[in-house]
C-alpha cells in the first residue's frame, strides 16, 4: 500500500528548511492561487513551483502515479464543466469568439477554452508546492510547525497522532477484512451495492471498537504523563529558523501580495485578453 505520497529524505535546500516555513509557504501559496484567476499570475506560480520542485531533488517517478490520478480527475472535471455550461467562459469574459459550431447548445468559443485553461492552471499552480510540502517535510515535525504558526499544540498533537496511527489502522483494517472475507463477507463486484455497504459495516465495527480501545489506551498514557499541564511545550523535532527560512517566508508573502495587487490592477479576479 505504498500508493500514498509521503516524506522522502533527500539533501536539498528545501529539505533543510524548517517545517514551519514550508507550512507557511504552502498556506500562503494556496490562498494566493485561490483568490486570483489571472492567467499570468497562475502560469507564473506554476513555473516557479516547478523550479522549486527541481531544486528539491525529488524525482518524477516518485510523483507520477499521483499526477496521473490528478490529471484524470481534472479531465473529468473539465469535461463536466463543458457538458453543464458550454457558455461559462462567454458569461465571464463578456465577449463571444466562436471557433466552431457543434450541435444543439454546444459550440467551441475562445472564451470557454480560455476559462477552462485558467481553471486547470488554478489547480496546477498549487500542485508543485503541495507536493513539496508533503514530500520534504518530516511528519514528526508537523506538530511543532503547526504550533509555531499559532495553532494550539493540542491540535498539533491530534495531527501527530493521526499520522502516527495511520499505518496501524491500515494493518488492522487489512486483518479484519481478510478474516471477514474468510467467513464469506465480500466487498467485491459480485455483491449488490447495498449489500456491499452492509458488508463493509461488518468489517468496520471491529475496527471502530479496536480504535476506541486505542483511544482509551493512548489518552490514559498521556494523562499519566501529565500532558496538557502547561500552556506551552517544547518539541524534540523543532529546528531553529535560519536565513533560508526567512527568505522563504518573505517570498511567500510577496507572491500573495502580487496575487492581491493584480486583482486591484485588473479591477477584478480575471485577466481578460478579449477586450
Amino acid at each position: 500500500m505504498s500508493t500514498a505520497l509521503s516524506y522522502v529524505e533527500r539533501d536539498s535546500v528545501i529539505h533543510q528548511m524548517t517545517g514551519t516555513t514550508k507550512l507557511f509557504f504552502f498556506l500562503f501559496w494556496s490562498v494566493a492561487a485561490m483568490i486570483t484567476y489571472d492567467t499570468r499570475v497562475l502560469v507564473g506560480m506554476f513555473l516557479f513551483g516547478c523550479v522549486l520542485f527541481k531544486i528539491s531533488k525529488l524525482k518524477w517517478k516518485e510523483i507520477s502515479f499521483a499526477l496521473i490520478f490528478m490529471f484524470t480527475l481534472m479531465a473529468i472535471n473539465i469535461v463536466g464543466i463543458y457538458v453543464f455550461a458550454p457558455e461559462q467562459g462567454v458569461e465571464i469574459y463578456g465577449t463571444r469568439h466562436v471557433v466552431a459550431e457543434l450541435f444543439w447548445r454546444y459550440s467551441i468559443t475562445l472564451e470557454q477554452l480560455f476559462y477552462m485553461f485558467n481553471f486547470l492552471m488554478k489547480y496546477m499552480a498549487v500542485i508543485p508546492i503541495a507536493l513539496l510540502f508533503i514530500m520534504t517535510t518530516n511528519p514528526s515535525e508537523f506538530a511543532a510547525s503547526m504550533n509555531k504558526i499559532g495553532i494550539s499544540y493540542r491540535v498539533g498533537y491530534s495531527v501527530a497522532i493521526a499520522l502516527r496511527y495511520i499505518p496501524d489502522i491500515q494493518r488492522d483494517y487489512r486483518e479484519i477484512s481478510q478474516a471477514q472475507q474468510a467467513r464469506g463477507i465480500s466487498l467485491g463486484k459480485d455483491e449488490k451495492t447495498l449489500d456491499r455497504i452492509k458488508n463493509s459495516a461488518a468489517i468496520l465495527f471491529p475496527l471502530v471498537l479496536s480504535s476506541i480501545q486505542r483511544i482509551e489506551t493512548i489518552s490514559n498514557a498521556m494523562e499519566l504523563r501529565g500532558f496538557g499541564k502547561h500552556k506551552k511545550r517544547t518539541w524534540i523535532m523543532a529546528k531553529p529558523m535560519g536565513k533560508r527560512d526567512y527568505v522563504g517566508i518573505v517570498l511567500s508573502i510577496a507572491i500573495l501580495a502580487v496575487s492581491v495587487a493584480m486583482i486591484i490592477v485588473n479591477g477584478g479576479r480575471y485577466y481578460n485578453p478579449f477586450i
Binding site: A4, L5, S6, S30, M34, Y37, I63, A66, F69, M70, I76, G80, I81, F84, A85, Q88, I92, F119, K122, Y123, V126, I127, A130, L131, F133, R154, V155, Y157, S158, V159, I161, A162, L163, R164, I166, D168, I169, Q170, Y173, L187, K189, T193, R196, I197, K198, S200, A201, L204, F205, L207, V208, L209, S211, R214, I215, S219, M222, F227, G228, R269
Partner: protein
C-alpha cells in the same frame, strides 16, 4: 485543573484516531458503486459514529484533518470539499446530546435522530457549503456543482445511514444500559 475551554486529552486522541480512520477508509478502501469511476465513501459513516460518541469538536477536526490528509496524499488539497467534510462533522456532532449513546439506549427514536442529523449534515455540506465555496474559489458553473453536490449528498447519506446505524446499534449494545441495575432489598 483542566480548563473547560481546552480540548480534553480524550478529545485530542479521538480527533487523531478519527482522522486516521477517515484517511485509511477514504484513501485505501474503494467500494465500487454502480456509477462508473465513482466509489462509495464509507468514511462518512465512521465519522458519523465518532461524532455521536465524541461530539462536535472531534467531528469538525477529524473531518478536516482526515480529508486534508487524503487530499495531500494525492498531491493537492481541494479546500472547498475539505471544509464541507468538517461542516458535516460539526453538524452530526450536535447529535451527541440528543442521542446519548453511552446510556446504551439506541432505539427507534435515536436512530431517527442520528439519520436526521446525518442527512441534514450531508445536505448542508455537499449541496450548500461545497458548491458555494467552489463558486467563490473556482467560479465553476452552478449547474455542474449542484448536480455534483446532489449526487454526493444522496450517495453519502445512504452509505452513512447504513454503516452508521449498524455500527451505532452494535456499539450501544456494548454499553451498560442506564437503569439496568436494580437495588435489591
Amino acid at each position: 485543573m483542566e480548563n473547560k475551554n481546552q480540548l480534553s486529552i480524550k478529545s485530542i486522541v479521538a480527533i487523531g484516531i478519527g482522522a486516521a480512520l477517515f484517511f485509511v477508509l477514504g484513501r485505501f478502501v474503494a467500494i465500487p458503486s454502480p456509477v462508473p469511476n465513482t466509489t462509495i465513501n464509507i468514511q462518512y459513516g465512521i465519522l458519523g459514529v465518532f461524532c455521536v460518541i465524541y461530539g462536535p469538536v472531534v467531528g469538525i477536526l477529524s473531518g478536516f484533518i482526515g480529508h486534508t490528509l487524503i487530499d495531500l496524499s494525492w498531491g493537492s488539497p481541494w479546500w472547498s470539499w475539505i471544509i464541507a467534510s468538517a461542516v458535516f462533522g460539526l453538524i452530526v456532532g450536535f447529535a451527541k446530546k440528543s442521542i446519548n449513546i453511552e446510556s446504551g439506549n439506541f432505539g427507534g427514536k435515536q436512530i431517527a435522530a442520528f439519520n436526521i442529523f446525518q442527512v441534514v449534515g450531508h445536505l448542508v455540506a455537499w449541496a450548500v457549503v461545497a458548491p458555494v465555496l467552489d463558486i467563490l474559489i473556482y467560479n465553476e458553473p452552478i449547474e455542474k456543482l449542484f448536480a455534483q453536490g446532489a449526487f454526493a449528498a444522496v450517495s453519502n447519506s445512504v452509505s452513512t445511514a447504513i454503516v452508521g446505524t449498524i455500527i451505532l446499534l452494535a456499539y450501544s449494545k456494548t454499553r451498560t444500559k442506564e437503569g439496568s441495575l436494580n437495588k435489591e432489598n
